[in-house]
Symmetry: C2
Subunit: 397 residues, 2 copies
Amino acid sequence: MKGLDDARRLDAADPLRRFAADFALPEGVIYLDGNSLGAPPRRALDRLAQTANEEWRNGLIRSWNAAGWIDLPKRAGAKIARLIGADEDSVVVCDSVSVNLFKLAAALIARNPGAALCVDAAEFPTDQHVLEGVARMTGAPLLRLDDDDIPDHAVLVRSLAHYKSAEILDMAAMESVARKKRCDIIWDLSHAAGLVAVDMKGAGARFAVGCGYKFLNGGPGAPAFISVAREEAEQIIQPISGWMGHAAPFDFSSDYAPADGVQRFNAGTPPILSLSALDAALDVFDGLDLNLLETKARALGEFFLDCVDDLPLTPLPTPTRRGGHVCLRSDDGYAIMQALIARGVIGDFRAPDLMRFGFAPLYISFENVRRAAETLREVLSTQEWRRAEFGKRGKVT
Amino acid sequence: MKGLDDARRLDAADPLRRFAADFALPEGVIYLDGNSLGAPPRRALDRLAQTANEEWRNGLIRSWNAAGWIDLPKRAGAKIARLIGADEDSVVVCDSVSVNLFKLAAALIARNPGAALCVDAAEFPTDQHVLEGVARMTGAPLLRLDDDDIPDHAVLVRSLAHYKSAEILDMAAMESVARKKRCDIIWDLSHAAGLVAVDMKGAGARFAVGCGYKFLNGGPGAPAFISVAREEAEQIIQPISGWMGHAAPFDFSSDYAPADGVQRFNAGTPPILSLSALDAALDVFDGLDLNLLETKARALGEFFLDCVDDLPLTPLPTPTRRGGHVCLRSDDGYAIMQALIARGVIGDFRAPDLMRFGFAPLYISFENVRRAAETLREVLSTQEWRRAEFGKRGKVT
């Protein structure tokens, strides 16, 4: 098993070590759930206070222009574009991942009558649920796949990084096959953005959605993003044609005319307080080499697995390329995770038996990982997880 | 013209005068645009700071349960239910008005094949735009009406309080006709909630959407609400079937099963920072007699019109029952409004020629109104609105 000295040696050599100071984390907590809800960047908390106490309170309605609220979906989108290798003007921040996936899948089916909606049967459940809704409304068939084949004449939704296995798919290889098969892939980048050095343009990927509150650290329920390559965006109209996606929203015309490019994927008025926090959170990534993030996350995960490899827990098989978390399987996983949380080591649990530990490379150190592993060892050796208080299934797990 | 003494006498007798202290407004500003973006309740600013700096920062992922984030859409919905005369469990806060209108109109068309989508040709533009999207996706015809007749076999969208005329419709009378004509009315309560003593149940109204950031004071782009009577909600499935509207969101089942009642209208993860501010803002209304709001708003508007009735501006015709704003027409309206704003009297402008003055009865006094009218008189008599700086059309007007 790796020791504390190993951890400290790795931390000393970590090119990202200066970033932890940018985050506000409570004392006594080792936070291994940034893949579910990112920790707050200090600048996001400051910006939120400014948006509320200066822009809303003092600027009032004037802040739509004076504080640039009206352009926030576009500005925050441009920052995310850099993180996913998309053109600056091909990403907009709006709504939730569910709503954005609905808009995009429905728009692609409308352009491509007869295409099937396809999704991996092990895909993140809400993506599957949303596609059920699109299928119900459009009449397109929904096929649940159980292999990695790219279907013909389809709109396929795939997570680039899987929420359980953390496997990172080969975007370029899949896109290359998809083009030959008339298959539009919508990439769900929720577990990838801000962690993986995604290169949408390089891979020929044209469509993506993703979440603002995981590795992008935008705050609980932060607005999501949607990316549509410029030449594609001009050819499709999304169904939720609200005023923010109008070509001239302040003309108050009765007829809808879609805005240029991806801006037409805006719908209603965005939640400015939440959006403002996300916009500030994204500045943490300014100038950062994204390859460092994925490399460190992988190293943290491997270090963790090394530290716990003698414990009676089964890691999920290691994929060739792995994202920011690892999963350990145990029938008692729920109670063990609760006991860990009670000791200040916060991961999460995914039914039926997965303990998930996320390693946000901007604020997690190798020493954190070593201490978390030690705590897990103690929780198991003392069997404290058997206490009644840890046995009840909560609502959020 | 009414004088300052008249204003002070009315203020002294105002049963709502104690509420102004609950709001944080900047010095030197008379804010007559609460119908567009409500002023911040102090408790909303406090709650936002708590949500960010305690719940997000210290509670992290645990706050979904520990701070009750997961129930916020329902809890805030129950508070709004009281303001619109709906059953407590028939309102949920989620998404934007545009997205909610899409979900509800699409769900009603799906239940009622062959029905037409109908909207008044003078309805708030974004509502018309959204219905265009629903029509495109469902194939239902979209009819733009130019009279107040209730159409047969239709899904009709109507604002209870109009964004220009401020006319408040007779909900009960319209519902009574609608029932006979197989017409489902979706009420847009954006300019009514928190101002008009809406009685959905009493009027037999079953469907509504509305906005959280106008008279509900939830903050810029605050999440919207949707209301569906219980017996109706169980019969319809909305198309954006995301995890928050699932019957068992934490089972991570691949198949969608709609949650009970209106909760199925939830879609993705809500923007908690924005939602939390709205939830706190709603507590301002706790125990308040809503009839006082509408009565005072009407009185403020009449007082304003009395104060300016000798000025060369044309008020829109006064409807029988009027909401929280009045409009004055002038070809120079845009520049005049800019000049007013420069003097700290903030209203807004609606193209092509309407200056709109909103009277949020919780924090606007008769003295405010008198001073605003005086300022308008000065801006006109000095002709300062002719200065070049006021002539350029901004993006948000």
